[in-house]
Symmetry: D3
Subunit: 281 residues, 6 copies
């Protein structure tokens, strides 16, 4: 498909916050007819993501910019790798630079961190999934970057899946009440997930027909007991404070899914830069 | 002023990506007339930022939500500190939760990291400044978070200050050509900054009347020599790969400004959560 | 919650297409200080829907219009029933009239038709559900009107549930291939529905773990055989050319869901009008 | 002209409500490189309308979709007629399907119903015209569909013609007062129409120079007397509860225009479907 | 009504182009809690217009700004007259200042120039009307300013009245062909105006039933002859190069309308300023 | 670059206010397949500006319109000069006409008036600069037109430069307080300008390090004394009531900049028209 409306909007907003009324430096010091070729180069090891956003930036900045991707989302990159090449009017290439790099750095950072978590659980049945703890405005792109890194997506928002959390349970009056209400009132096409914090509640949730049970902030013993009580009647998701150095032992407990907020809220940027390699005056 | 148009747009976009057609969980399991009071609680030590965004989220989610800030942007927080209290219809509080926290966590992360850098340079004349390496769509808020953390803002975009970088110099034909063109063509109300990588270019830039000279990726010796050649004729900005453990020695070289991209592109989120403390059914 | 962003947008678009640069008739013949009270009156028997849209129209037309609903969405109405009362500046009441009525008539038409279908299946286990065959731009409101009429909502769009239809099966290479691919690649939080047209495919879909099986355009015998082969392993949805006079016999076959496109694409408007009952000059 | 801004907006809104963050079924079960050709086929007899909207849907869904119309707006169609052919990436064709059909079905429904009314008045001087009783957001397209069906358009909104209705007359203080005010204050380029319910008022309106006189909900005798009193000094429009089986006798009374709200508020959809006829994997 | 959508949009665009990311001067030098009262003062003699725009600027800049109009649109003003008083947070009053004045100066300029033309034709039957030669984006407000100055509005755009101009006549093949086509195809609720440049064409237009005939760029003799041939069968509009010192003699020829493009394309601004008269620190 | 987002928005708004639902005259009297070629011709002597806006109008009106500029922004034009040629569907050329001309006339008016001021100061060191007294919505284009006329741009809005005006000084408590606060709190990349009205304040401002000093509404003696006291330590800007017949003597006082609000708030339109020269039926 052509760039989806939300990608167009995200990119337009990013460009507008950077360009405002125009790039007064380039207008003053780069002649209008200078043409330039630039390379986007990785300065660190990681996993690439965000190429669709970089391409849309090029597309919106100038009709005459040509961008040739040399790597794809999900590809590993090493320092020095040329990730893409852009060519076009010099002023346009300079206007493209920062906004495109900002997308690529943030999203490759997400993909790189995801890949690190995914590698830790290799060989277990656990799948690494993201959360709704995303940077405002960037959710769709961050979720795509999680996939590029080898992770899976949890729901995209409050609208596309049921997840009964502690605060819902409180307001509904308990696990049983919450699940009963949801089974009565939720759209029939939605799966039902519930967050529990004790093995007893985990068993209750399974008894009441939850499709997915999130074991929230439980220690290893409680997780094991919960799995034993659920007996495969629901998918299980482990959640809460999972770190790179702890995910493997969690995965070996036998859960289906492990969700990690840090993938999207705390991924450091992957260093990339744009170097102009050829130009004509 | 009322929420600025860009704050309204950023918050609206964030809410829309989370809420979509509505929160199907709350609609199914929380009765429409339940009212709730919640507390936003810090789970880690840091510096608060983003309260204006959280307030705007409340404002857009429901007219009957009341948010009472107990801390202000720039305040230090400790684990357990209640940062704000929200009260309103239970469903609205739940819809508010994730989007408000996402803003607070990201922006408090920026303020916290900035504060760490600023504390390192205490007692020197150096000022910590941000860059345009921001998360797309979040620039205005991130720059406000840098200020909350004690840093200063560099330009907001390509439109509000002149900064001649390596790629401009390349396309213009050299430092002298770039500076001459800019002095002829740039708006008279804009200061002129130029990025240089050798002491010779730093001196040339000062000779040609640059207002600010950025010493990019220079070693300590080169910085010292540059300062000696510039002789106070321009503000000096040190830039490139500055880390928490290296900023102090850089600052002691005597530069005016040190810019740190990581403040906005790699700040880990500050952990905060919303706990519902009272409710009526 | 306050009017959701999409409701605000739908109402704004409707008002703009009617008002354009202003109501030149009222401006010419109604003095600016005339105040008026009007009643929205049902002219036919049916079920009310769309009051939230009418209220939003009032809200956007003039800050001083006051609308008092006397009936709620889902209420039955008889000819002569006063459904709501509006009061405010005369010109504003006149500008409100047509757009508010257009929403109420269309949506009450949907609720009325839905109620008629729902009454036909009373006593069976079948539930009447809507489709994506909606009037462009009105989907959210039409789906709410279906609920007001006693029906249930199927998915809201292509984004919030899996439904493998004939064209997907064709492009995927068959029922088995389609289901396998979807089970591998779809979000784990989404239920999987598939459309089949033979009992053999129905059984195959159940064998492969489909959550919901749509029996499309099947005769009674084929439906019965499909149900026998599915053996309760999935929800069943009957679809295709269901009419008011045929839905009962379909429901008695024992399916869980019956979807009816006509609810939203062919509901005749419910007749309502606005009569000004008091005014001051 | 290129698609007008309002057509672009209407189509964008329709696509967004259906696609949201994407078509999760096609993404999961149709490979990205599958190409498909589909045919839009009429399943019932009627009159085509909405091809410009379907083309705009194609245009917005994917740059590589090609749509070839085989029928034009206003053409009669029979069951089995292929109305258009689309070709492009398989996922894009599937995303195009429902939204394009929703436009075509609704608008062809309007054109088909209009044609039925127009055929009833053949041979009389009466012209069938639409009203402002349209589905919110669809007015421009519905009015184009009325023309495709052989009808004529009344005003497009409150802004482009004067029509003094019963509520205006009430607030203005009577027929004479309303007409006098309008003649004094209305734009000189606008024709003046007034709604009357008695022959006496019809004559008064003609005496006061109304350009068009709407005879609202009058019986045949009253219409005849009104025409006799107006004596050709104004165009006459008959309005109110006109049905397919009553329009002919109304037309034979000799009025110039007959307006029918049902054309746009109660037209049942014309059945059309998209069948994929060729594909490559 | 509340501010119409287009007024909100025009004001929002104007504020955004002035405020951008914020008023960096006030933020730096005016404390956040300073309150101020300012007066908008006329510095020249003229006619006021644009108060609705100034009020909307206040409304959008800050919820706590209070604006009290002391003069209304259409009122004459003398140098020193206080036109409105604003009170609120000092920073907000400063942000309000320039954008509000820009609206008031431009629109009062239009009203002032219109009044001058209107006074010239006093006592004749001629009415001064505007054209579509407006400043892009300002048409609605400029047309309201023309009315404030005592002029009348011609059509608002290409959509709300028929005006056949020289280029249409050329493309249609002549006056007769153009008029015949328009009578056949135009909406029945629209009046038909045609531009002619000879008395013969004026007569032809009247013969063919034009409602309004524009005599374009004709000398006095040709105007007189045209009026004689039209014989009151249509409204007459004189157009083309009419100046303040020539409009009277044109009016005395007996035409109904005289259109003047300069009202909206060349009105010099009326000088107004905002003076802060009280403040608290 | 491609048309910047704000240019697209300004042009879209202008087209929408003129076209609304469409050009009912052309649709009625020009056949859909007529093609036309038109010339935009200058009817007066002046300086051209606004060609980028006219091109964008063409682009938005119809994909098949071709516009060939024969003059560029900044070029002098004489009556009769053909400024651009357009070719395309006849209806599209007619829809293009008025909106394109409105941009060209307004902006060429600004360029023409600017050129007149600039010619007056030839040979002095003074530069003519614009102000923020622009027509709402047109600022970017008007500032480009000032440059086309040979003037220079002052700041674009409140966001991109510091200018402390009389009202700020009042609220800050005096010239010294205002300057001190600004030096402490303003972005380091922004130059600081201050408005003063006495030579003493001018000297104080220079002492306190202002980068630019605006001498507001001072007589020649006061200007001379101010310059003597400033001693070249800051750029000087003369402002206030400068007219074409007084600017030369002001310039000869030796100031660097002279700002003229009339350039953008009171420039009369340059007369241009579109003539259709060829067409095919």
């Amino acid at each position: 498909m052509t760039a989806s409306p939300w990608l167009k909007r995200v990119v337009a907003a990013a460009l507008e916050e950077d360009l405002g009324r125009g790039d007064i430096t380039s207008e003053a010091c780069v002649a209008a007819d200078v043409r330039a070729v630039g390379e986007i180069v990785a300065k660190a090891k990681g996993v690439l993501a965000g190429m669709e956003a970089a391409a849309e930036v090029a597309c919106q900045v100038h009709e005459a910019i040509c961008i040739e991707p040399l790597k794809s989302n999900g590809d590993p990159v090493e320092p020095g790798d040329v990730v893409a090449r852009v060519a076009g009017p010099g002023r346009a290439v300079l206007a493209f630079e920062r906004t495109a790099l900002n997308f690529l750095q943030q999203l490759s950072g997400v993909a790189t961190l995801t890949r690190a978590f995914v590698e830790q659980v290799a060989g277990t049945k656990a799948v690494v999934v993201d959360t709704r703890k995303t940077v405002p405005g960037m959710r769709m792109l961050q979720k795509a970057a999680v996939v590029a890194g080898g992770g899976h997506n949890h729901r995209f928002g409050l609208y596309d899946a049921i997840l009964i959390k502690d605060n819902h349970i409180r307001l509904a009056g308990g696990v049983a009440q919450a699940l009963e209400r949801v089974r009565a009132g939720a759209p029939f096409a939605a799966k039902i997930e519930i967050e529990v914090s004790t093995p007893a509640d985990a068993e209750l949730a399974a008894d009441l027909g939850a499709d997915i049970i999130m074991l929230d902030n439980m220690g290893p013993e409680a997780v094991r007991e919960s799995l034993a009580r659920i007996k495969g009647r629901a998918l299980t998701e482990l959640s809460g404070g999972v770190r790179l150095d702890t995910i493997r032992e969690r995965a070996e407990l036998g859960v289906d899914l492990i969700s990690v907020g840090a993938l999207t809220h705390s991924a450091p940027a992957l260093d990339l830069s744009l170097e102009i390699t050829e130009w004509t005056r």
